[in-house]
């Protein structure tokens, strides 16, 4: 009978030791955990835009301090646009968008989403004031203070999203909880450097070209470290949609950084390199998002690492009392 065959095929019979280690047991192949209902354009999109805004605010402050005013203004506008789109995406993704204000109902350090909401509610107005002052030329001292505040909070906006993803039971995210903030920080820096290359004049873009190179190196290193840490779960970073996106991200980020370093002194190659960096950063975020989804939807990635951990400890069930 087919059901019996299914049951037999899906499950190991008893405790036969000759069964290869890769095999695992599950309930009709159904996932153990539930994948988030988050939409990729909203949440992976937010990871990208939040990073672009946050790291962009640092570049904007640096550009302003060193007299690169065109780049500074462009990045302030870019950060304001990105953080506004982020807020829109986050509210849009809620099951009850009208209740978005409940995000500020409590202040809760155990919830990265609560911390992020508070962070955005301070960073957003700062980025807005910085951009408004730069564009209109009014209230320059307030604009300067806002630029500074956005530059201090920006890196936190860029990296906390790594914690937001990792603080879940999703194997491909939680397993890389030490590496994700670095990967997201590097990816955010690459995006912001890309935006500076696209919007700023060539004679102002030396720091952005330097940042692009650093970010590309850090991005590659963090991703490698994450995959090493993840063990068998790293499959989800290498295969399927996530694999395609992350491969594209690696090529685009490397090409953008090399292009910026070699030919960034001229306008057209600088713009092309900047676009490659921006697209590469977006691919990184959508790739990591897709890897998480794939790891949540297959019980293998939940069961096998936990089972291996138990077997290493010499246990049988979660807290078996068999003597």
């Amino acid at each position: 009978m087919s059901i019996t065959e299914r049951a037999g095929r899906r499950r190991r019979r008893g405790e036969q030791p000759m069964v290869p280690k890769a095999e695992f047991q599950s309930y009709y192949g159904r996932p153990v955990i539930k994948a988030p209902s988050w939409a990729a354009p909203d949440i992976a999109g937010y990871f990208f835009l939040g990073g672009l805004a946050g790291a962009g605010s640092v570049l904007a402050a640096g550009a302003q301090l060193t007299g690169r005013t065109t780049t500074a203004t462009a990045l302030k506008v870019s950060s304001l646009t990105a953080v506004s789109l982020s807020a829109a995406a986050l509210v849009h993704d809620l099951g009850r968008p009208a209740r978005f204000a409940n995000m500020l109902r409590v202040f809760k350090p155990t919830s990265p989403m609560s911390m992020g909401s508070w962070l955005l509610s301070v960073y957003g107005p700062a980025a807005g004031a910085a951009a408004a002052s730069a564009v209109t030329g009014r209230l320059p001292r307030l604009g300067g203070a806002a630029t500074g505040a956005a530059a201090v909070l920006g890196p936190a906006v860029a990296t906390y999203t790594g914690v937001l993803a990792a603080d879940t039971a999703v194997p491909a995210w939680h397993g890389a909880h030490r590496e994700l903030p670095y990967l997201f920080g590097a990816s955010a820096t690459a995006a912001a450097a890309g935006m500076a290359l696209v919007t700023g004049p060539a004679h102002e873009n030396t720091p952005a070209r330097c940042a692009a190179g650093l970010a590309a190196l850090a991005d590659a290193a963090a991703e490698k470290a994450a995959e090493r840490r993840l063990g068998m779960v790293a499959e989800t970073w290498r295969e399927g949609r996530a694999g395609t996106l992350l491969r594209a991200a690696r090529v685009l980020t490397a090409a953008g950084a090399l292009g910026a370093a070699a030919f960034g002194g001229r306008r057209a190659p600088a713009v092309a390199s900047g676009l490659a960096l921006l697209t590469g950063s977006a691919c990184t975020r959508f790739g990591v998002f897709a890897a998480g989804m794939a790891s949540a939807e297959d019980p293998k990635y939940t069961v096998v690492p936990q089972r291996e951990r138990l077997d290493a400890e010499g246990g049988g069930g979660a807290d078996t009392q068999v003597e």
Partner: protein, 277 residues
Amino acid sequence: MSEERVGFFTDTTVCIGCKACEVACKEWNAIPEDGLSLSAMSYDNTQALGASTWRHVAFIEQPKPEGRTQLPLADEESGDGEMRWLMSSDVCKHCTHAACLDVCPTGSLFRTEFGTVVVQEDICNGCGYCVPACPYGVIEQRPHDGRAFKCTLCYDRLGAGQEPACAKACPTESIQFGPLDELRERAALRVDQLHEAGTTEARLYGADPDNGVGGDGAFFLLLDRPEVYGLPPDPVVTTRDLPTMWKHAGVAALSVLGGLAACFAVSGRPGTGRGRR
């Protein structure tokens, strides 16, 4: 906790798969219908816990383990002994360290005076963070509603001194409700009894206060590995690693700041020639 902590002990060895718990839960809590599909998963057409399924009976047909004494209960047609049924009514574990509660940004999820974990539906804004945070895949957002729902351990009934609807409806006392300490003692005795009867594969799941979630408010006596029932073998509350994550996020943020500052430092001012070709 102003009251004694209460919970469920689900003894799957006496579950007969009647699904009275599923029905009683739906009825009492007025949970909407959530699809009538045939799953081809034995008698399990409910398939999983979710926003509109707060009790779920799993049905497993498997070859009987060799060389063990049969349970009298499971041995009615003794002799042909090829297959055995495993049936288990799953439910929210009401963890001591509940990831859903920890990550909820609105404070909608809270710990009750009975030590259970409940969603306040008038506060939940449907952010969905609790859904991937749960290591058991219990809580879920209801489509077309958007908010997250799960077992409340019949918070309204507890307040009135009643036991939860599922435990009340269970005809075999597979689902036992009571003070958690008392249930743990009872469960340990039951395991000893089963081991003496030769059912050596009997094991408790979620009863240990030292497990990855600090002990489950709803725990189980299983006859096979947890993953066979669709349960994670060694779940750990994700927020256990949150201090490490915040630390790394802080270092990463400072690296972004420092890295970019260094880029500006080596590049100098535009037009000065330094750092430009």
